[in-house]
Amino acid sequence: MRYSLFTLLRQGLMAHRGWTPAWRDAAPKSAYRVLLIGGGGHGLATAYYLAKVHGITDVAVLEKGAIGLGNAGRNTTIIRSNYLLPGNLPFYEFSMQLWEGLERDLNYNAMVSQRGVLNLFHSDAQRDAFVRRGNAMRLHGVDAELLDAAAVRRMLPFLEFDNARFPIQGGLLQRRGGTARHDAVVWGYARAASELGVDIVQNCEVTGFLRSGERICGVQTTRGSIGAETIGIAVAGNSSRVAAMAGLRLPIESHVLQAFVSEAVKPLIPCVVTFGAGHFYISQSDKGGLVFGGDIDGYNSYAQRGNLPTVEDVCAGGMAVMPSIGRLRLLRSWGGIMDMSMDGSPIIDRTPLEGLYLNAGWCYGGFKATPASGYCFAHLLARGESHELTRAYRLERFASGHLIDEKGQGPQPNLH
């Protein structure tokens, strides 16, 4: 059923009795042309673009629980394309452009809000590094502005300017960046894919792979075996576990990243702000809660929760840059499992095993990538070759040295 103000009004008159499920809760068939493991944003987006762009509708998305409760359902919803390296920048900008048309495309309001993303800097060296990044963006036609302290102050007068340990010198602003309603992105892709014939199979955990020789030809699941010509893994924090079922070791560590939300208040923070002298970034959700986060806890983890040192570190960062939030209350904190790659950049590639493809290594930046990741992964699955925007996201780059290391931290995932 198409969504619009009109249908909403009509349903209003009939007490909303006429609405139908947003997506079909399908039971798995015995075989599919393409199987996607993981009903998060990436898996669902991939299914949608397979059907929409490549006309491949014999597709199932297998989700071990209910869709969208992994990282897609727990991220801080920031979307941006303010990247430095040529391996990343065009890909994330393409994603940004897909976001800009997403709602009309999906006929689902994902509340994409281009409220701006402001990275604060606090030293000359940091300014120059940000300028280098901003200039790369401009070279690629992406919007980027350099603000001095005065301009930042006009924009966000409530920041700490006068009593700071590391005074704000200015900021790098991408106005087209912003946030999107994370759950709606999942539901929107699920609904649109389902409408095109994709099976969304919930409570169906993949427990192993079926092989014929060197070829992967299906999966074992908690709902029986399912055959497939092509299988894509898009399980984020669980990538290593699923890959291990196929005997693969990945350049990935799973780490916990915590996020936080405050009690809802009337509009306070107009854009996304990141603190440059500590680990803290923040935005305000449409519901009114301040959604914020910081650094990962730093140790391997599959528990979706973290510990106090990070909580303290994040709140200290918040108070250092935004001392007016002191009396606002933290309402809830949680964690998600990051698929931290060895150079901080993702992998969208074929695996050494025929028929098995991988989409992983998103670290804490994969929500913004959801549309482009789905689009390009669909391309790879449909055509068997990388989309030009993801040529750099190869598994073999670590052996060849074609690293995409935005932060320069080297093979130390917890530092990316």
Partner: protein
């Protein structure tokens, strides 16, 4: 006295009257009141407006689970939005305002939303507002945002301070109701270190709200005595106003002590709140149980209140929520509310019990009063504009009658308050016998007792508490006798009624978020059928109360709509914090200038006297330049400093550079494996530039290696990398090559180090330490080092130069720094000696083409930095193998170059990108960037260092430096990255 304030004791101090204002109107109440009890006493029942429909709302509970009565407390910079009236301890002059209502809570324009409520169903915004695209940010979203949110945050900095503290104990008891007190007493009497945390300002839990007897005395005073006994024991810390908000790994607990929230303002030297990090061997969870409401039509009207809360207001605060209070109950304990009210001379017109039959005792007791009892009855709806006036009662024969009441007590059954028992990921278990979840698979360090464990009787609370207290004490090595207390064994029957099917009008599940039974039905209809989808689609349980009183009712509705049992629905994980926590408290002292510690160089105080301007680089605070009186523009100051170094002599404190002492039989071979360049060939008394790589072949750090004595080396590292380098070295020493005999000592702080540079550097030094040391080129050539006596201490002199002039670095024990630098200044006065700062240092290193932070950025190899020739081909060392990966030696990989604008007056900026001349602007044509740039006073023009593809082939080429962010775009020439004294003769001078 108001008609709502009852006679009798309670826990309020009648002799201390306090006055306060709500929405500007002045009222008075007593010490010991909460804002909620004070408002009830003042007859204020309409406290605020709801989130979406702006419905009038009152007070539902008497505790921190309150969903409705949220107010803005205090004003100005101290304004606290969304503060629960039920948790605000009254103080003289308290100011509070209602929220989310305009112009006033009584006449609220937003209330028209109720009329549109047919549209504003769960998730309506996902279905529209999509056209035209641009309108989302401009029109729709701002409107939604203005409507959303409850209170208004202050935009001013929080004026209060916060504190962090650490506590350790054998037994942590969370909650001081009968179960908690029993546990604490038992463990404490045995001698264990006991820490009790109680959220309330009054210990005792339900005992303050009920009329129980323990050991013949009334329970409230029993609690007071228990607390007094505990407080008197040396190993016990009893903290009220302290909420344990989170459970973390390693038996670590987070708690917030509200030190001054009950006062108009924190006293001097007192924080507003104190954040406790508690480590406990064993923890007893005695957090009680929370009563649920029932989902029926108009169940949100001001005057509708949970039955146990009514008892608390009556017995503890001596306040009644109304003069004619009806009761709607699903269990025996609800009846206690009626009896407590009746005994307090409050009229109870009707008792509606959803159960068809109840015990004779209850009926007998009720028959003594003039109360109509409706068994098997339900309440279909309520009436009243801004306060409750009437309830519609459906009896078992299907007859509906209206009963006039001004308040309604609702007893929907109890759920153990087990949030903390799930923070570590444990899922609770459904217990059919109490129709609620109870804590399950707890770790050995944690146990739940009393109502928190589903043990709802007082006797059971005392019993389970005592048993847990004894076990906990035992594991800590204290043998505790089992104490027991006398109390009536009450048996309380109940059977849940989650919702009233025939409800008329909106029946609310989640009050705060205006989630109705209809919204749940809609979510199910649209396929959002898992508990998590229901939550996320309707926002059920996502408010400030986290649905403590609503969650289970919502799941029961979900179960009914999807043909499942409540038990099958599962639970929504509770997350820290248990109740919302001020963000300032978690940051504690780390804000403003205290955000991070600062480090001062050994000559800091001297630098202050010389007019130094300081810059924070990481933790260090360093002299950036030394402005002379009359020097306004810092560039001219820096230019002067550079010129004096190049023409005479300058002194700079470089103590922040890392200094690591390496000794041991295998010291040389250790360093041989650490550094990319040869170390073994370094003779004693000599210094060498050294390059350390990461295992992936990227440069980790550069610095110097001095060979002090046989088997004794001193390394220097860049200021920013000391910790990283030290960690790298200890890793190699302890993990990679434990067999080597090598000892490492970080001596960075032991030595103050001064660079003395310039053509007259030797002359200056000869004036201060000629007799200690011969300084001629022969005696101390470039890259040599020696030790000397200095101020009666041992000091070291290195003939090294970062700025490219004849230079030395004099290392003296840190405490000699000030005397030393003053001596140097004095001795050099006639030579025109000049102190210089980091800025001049930076300019001169660029003039010399020395790489630093902006070049050694974790993505550059020795080759990239033009240091390939240093890398040894004859040995193995960390980083050798991976540095030779194909992509890292590709010819088009950007490498270090010097850059010079063609226009001698043009400014060159770091961060500019480099493109070949004449090519279109695009990422494909991006060939590198400017990493460092400066105005060179020596050359009288801007210069820079940068990285450029195929650098070697391009010397002399004119390319383009493009910096659109700064609106700069200029032609530059590619040159060798050494702008000054390319043959390095001056350092040898």
């Amino acid at each position: 006295m108001s008609v709502y304030r009852l006679a009798g004791e309670g826990a309020i101090q009648r002799d201390r009257t306090l006055s306060f204002t709500f929405d500007g109107r002045r009222h008075s109440a007593y010490a010991g009141d909460t804002l909620a009890s004070a408002l009830l006493a003042a007859g204020v029942h309409l406290v605020g407006r709801s989130f979406k429909y702006h419905r009038p709302r009152g007070i539902l509970t008497a505790g921190s689970e309150e969903p409705n009565a949220l107010v803005e407390l205090r004003c100005g910079a101290r304004r606290e939005p969304n503060t629960r009236a039920t948790m605000i301890e009254l103080f003289e002059g308290l100011q509070a305002c209602s929220q989310n209502a305009w112009p006033s809570r009584v006449f609220d324009v937003g209330a028209i939303n109720s009329l549109l409520s047919r549209l504003f169903v769960a998730g309506f915004y996902y279905k529209t507002f999509m056209w035209p695209a641009a309108w989302w940010e401009k029109v729709y979203e701002p409107a939604i945002r203005r409507a959303a949110g409850l209170g208004r945050a202050s935009a001013e900095p929080d004026p209060d301070c916060y504190e962090k503290a650490h506590a350790f104990c054998d037994v942590l008891v969370i909650g001081s109701g009968p179960a908690g007190l029993a546990a604490a007493l038992t463990a404490a009497r045995a001698g264990a270190r006991v820490l009790v945390c109680e959220e309330d300002f009054l210990p005792g839990g339900r005992l303050n709200g009920e009329r129980h007897e323990i050991d013949g005395a009334d329970a409230a005073s029993w609690a007071r005595n228990a607390v007094a006994e505990l407080r008197a024991l040396p190993e016990v810390r009893f903290m009220t106003r302290t909420t344990v908000f989170g459970v973390y790994d390693g038996a670590t607990y987070g708690a917030i002590e509200r030190v001054s929230d009950h006062l108009p303002m924190p006293p001097e030297h007192q924080p507003r709140q104190r954040f406790w990090k508690i480590v406990a061997r064993r923890t007893v969870l005695a957090t009680g149980a929370l009563e649920r409401t029932v989902v029926f039509g108009g169940n949100d009207r001001p005057g509708v209140m949970l039955a146990a809360a009514v008892r608390t207001y009556v017995n503890r605060y001596r306040v009644t929520p109304g003069r004619r209070v009806g009761l709607f109950t699903t269990g025996d304990d609800g009846w206690k509310t009626a009896f407590d009210l009746l005994d307090a001379q409050v009229e109870v017109p009707v008792i509606v019990d959803a159960r068809a039959a109840v015990g004779a005792a209850l009926l007998e007791q009720a028959s003594r009063h003039d109360v109509q009892v409706v068994l098997g009855g339900q309440i279909l709806s309520t009436a009243g504009a801004r306060a409750l006036r009437r309830v519609e009662v459906l009896d078992r024969d299907g007859r509906v009658r209206g009963v006039p009441v001004d308040a309604l007590a609702v007893a929907g059954g109890w759920s153990p308050n087990l949030a903390l028992a799930t923070h570590l990921g444990m899922r609770p278990r459904w217990d059919e016998s109490i129709s609620a979840h109870v804590p399950a698979d707890l770790p050995p360090s944690l146990c739940a007792v009393g109502a928190a464990a589903g043990e709802f009787s007082l006797a059971g609370a005392l019993r389970s508490g005592a048993a847990a207290g004894r076990d906990a004490a035992r594991t800590a090595g204290f043998d505790a006798p089992l104490v027991s207390w006398q109390t009536d064994e009450e048996r309380l029957e109940s059977s849940p009624l989650w919702f009233v099917p025939g409800s008329r009008g909106k029946a609310f599940v989640d009050y705060q978020h205006d989630v109705t039974a209809e919204d749940v039905a809609l979510a199910v209809r649209e396929g959002y059928r898992s508990a998590e989808h229901l939550k996320r689609y309707t926002t059920l349980g996502m408010g400030t109360d986290q649905g403590k009183t609503a969650q289970l009712n919502g799941h029961a509705l979900l179960a009914a709509r999807t043909g499942r049992e409540v038990a099958e629905i599962g639970t929504i994980a509770a997350r820290p914090p248990y109740t919302p926590v001020a963000i300032g408290a978690l940051a504690a002292r780390e804000r403003g200038r205290n955000f991070r510690p600062y480090r001062l160089t050994p000559s800091h105080r001297w630098a202050e006297t010389r007019g130094a301007v300081f810059v924070d680089t990481g933790q260090w605070r360093r002299a950036q330049w030394f402005a002379l009186p009359g020097e306004s523009d810092w560039r001219s100051t820096v230019a002067r400093e550079v010129r004096s170094v190049r023409t005479a002599v300058g002194v700079c404190d470089v103590s922040t550079l890392g200094k690591i002492d390496v000794q041991g039989r295998d010291a040389a071979s250790f360093l041989e494996r650490i550094y990319a360049n040869a170390v073994a060939t370094l003779p004693v008394g000599r210094v060498r530039y050294g390059l350390m790589l990461r295992i992936d072949g990227m440069v980790l750090d550069d610095g110097t290696i001095a060979h002090l004595r046989d088997g004794h080396f001193l390394l220097s590292s860049s200021t920013a990398h000391v910790a990283q380098v030290m960690r790298h070295l200890t890793y190699a020493q302890q993990v990679l090559w434990p067999e080597l005999d090598v000892q490492l000592t970080n001596v960075t702080e032991q030595w103050a180090q001064f660079a003395i540079a310039g053509p007259l550097a030797r002359t200056l030094l000869e004036r201060v330490c000629a007799e200690a040391l011969a300084l001629s080129n022969a005696d101390l050539p470039h890259m040599a080092c020696a030790s000397l006596r200095w101020l009666g201490r041992r000091a070291r002199l290195f003939r090294i130069s970062f700025c490219g002039e004849l230079g030395y670095e004099l290392a003296v024990p840190a405490r000699c720094a000030e005397t030393t630098v003053r001596a140097l200044m004095q001795a050099g006065e006639s030579l025109g000696v000049t102190p210089y700062g980091t800025e001049a240092l930076g300019v001169m290193r660029i003039e010399k083409g020395h790489v630093a932070g902006p070049e050694i950025n974790g993505t550059t190899t020795a080759e990239d930095l033009g240091l390939g020739r240093l890398v040894s081909r004859h040995k193995d060392f960390i980083g050798r193998v991976l540095a030779s990966r194909p992509a890292l030696s590709a010819p088009d990989r950007p490498a270090l170059v010097g850059l010079r604008p063609l226009d001698p007056h043009a400014r060159l900026t770091s961060g500019a990108h480099l493109l070949a001349a004449g090519v279109p602007l695009s990422l494909q044509n991006d060939q590198g960037f400017v990493s460092s740039s400066a105005f060179s006073p020596t050359l009288g023009r801007w210069i820079g260092l940068g990285f450029l593809s195929r650098a070697r082939e391009r010397l002399g080429e004119q390319i383009r430096a493009y910096d659109p962010l700064r609106n700069l775009d200029l032609p530059v020439e590619v040159v060798r990255p050494v702008f000054y004294d390319p043959d390095g003769l001056r350092v040898k001078g």
